[in-house]
């Protein structure tokens, strides 16, 4: 099962990446090369196995914690926005999305 140029275009759109025609071509070759080594993995019988997300769960129960829903950080709006590409009156600016 090889990827097609249409697959590359679809994935690039999902990933919000603009690819030039030559980049797309190279990506197609490289991804197909990569999925060649993935084939071995697909043939492994994994029926009845639970996926391992937190590796230490292999030996003990790991529960992801929830913290109390209280404000713990001071307001740092200015520091948080100092590396933003476009800010006005404390708000992040984006191109117009609603006419």
């Amino acid at each position: 099962m090889a990827l097609t140029p249409q697959d590359i275009a679809r994935i690039a759109n999902l990933a919000r990446l603009e690819l030039t025609p030559s980049e797309s071509e190279r990506m197609l070759t490289q991804l197909n090369g990569f999925f060649g080594i993935v084939e071995k993995m697909r043939a492994v019988d994994t029926s009845g196995l639970t996926p391992l997300a937190h590796p230490v769960a292999a030996i003990q129960d790991v529960t992801l914690r929830l913290r109390e829903d209280v404000a713990s950080e001071p307001n740092q709006r200015e520091a948080n926005q100092q590396s933003a590409p476009a800010v006005e009156r404390g708000l992040f600016l984006v191109p117009k999305v609603i006419e």
Binding site: I11, A12, F34, I37, M41, T50, P55, A84
Partner: protein, 497 residues
Amino acid sequence: MTSTALHDLGVAQLATELRERRVSAVEAAQHFLTRAKAHQNLGAFVALNEEATLTQAQAADARIAAGTAGTLEGVPIAHKDIFVTRSFPSTAGSKMLAGYQSPFDATVVTKLADAGAVTLGKLNCDEFAMGSANENSAVAPVGFDAPAPVRNPWDTHRIPGGSSGGSAVAVAARLAPAVTGTDTGGSIRQPASFCGITGIKPTYGRASRYGMIAFASSLDQAGPMARSAEDCALLLSAMCGPDPDRDSTSLDVPAENFSAKLNDSIEGLRIGIPAEFFGEGLAPDVRAAVDAALKEYEKLGAQLVPISLPRTELSIPVYYIIAPAEASSNLSRFDGVKFGHRAKNYTDLVDMYKKTRAEGFGDEVKRRIMIGTYVLSHGYYDAYYLQAQKIRRMIADDFQNAFKHCDLIAGPVAPTVAWKLGEHGNDPLADYLADIFTLPASLAGLPGMSVPAGFGESGMPVGLQLIGNYFHEARLLNAAHRLQQATDFHLRQPGGL
């Protein structure tokens, strides 16, 4: 004490000199800053801020004078540019974050500062820690106007390894006594091996990931890199500990003094030797150095036990599905809105996203985002991502079976010594395949380290990999320290420095 000898001291010795006030923290900082600039051709540093460094050093001197010195008081260290820092830009080696100023420090950075360490600067790495050669950095090193290769000080025409390449070079070239690195699939162990230094990745969840720019969240771990296991133990003791409010995957395992058991005897220690790590892919020069180190362990009273890690080869596809999947999700935050690069010309919001990401990310990052997006997309998730997570459990179980017969596992870190700059050219698969021996422990979340074990082809360093069971960092460091008491590979240094 003359200042010319300062860079020959390890962390433990330098901390003693500082505490006993034979040298000041300011003198030490100045010495290493001068050295970093004198050897900037190696491309190790991407940011220095002398004023910030000297201010920290003055504060360290004041604490030493007041008798409130921490364990690392005044010791200059440098951070991989994956950790965010308030006093230095944080770029993750990416154009996307050029000049980014973090409003906060990573937990690991704070913890090391609390122990008294002084920050010298930030170190080069592969973009978002994705790479095995440090050839994927998009940031100009200190002293350069454009991105330039990080050079292995043992042979400046060779790669230093990656992704913590700048970190390994800084220690190997004596530009810092110790540094931080991060390891997702081998990014501490492999450059440590290629540059002839010592590095350890702790159990997943022991060091906080807060403020480590995320690549693959279920794999990323911070760890120290230094010349010796003794020095790594000092830093690791300061870096670990629960961070319950800021990292949901941080484990509730208390901080530990990893120096306490360094000198314990290893008489009777059972070292597992996985057959799959010694197959035909292993270069003869690496094999010879690793075999010699294992013989040394036998002389020290350890016992070598044959074991099997049958899914070693499968760890390559499994890792290169899981890590890109998590990366594609983590890197979706780089959209040109809240921080980082934004394209200049675009037609609408989606076009702005696409052009921003096309301009901001390098080739390897784009490849991994594409792989990750594909394997998580509708209709493919079960066949790829879920299947990989299931085999990941098999790999973790294989280790538990092996640990029934041994106390730790040893083998090579990488199949070869460091290759030549540009040698893998436009073939990303060549880099992926070279990760084969570090990926299994990463997928299982086990602690692993690289210890200098000798030299191979062209006099390039070879590292011995030690893998421990969960939370057995102290045992790994003990075994590494005992080897370093019997050998001097970790004390050798490249010529011309």
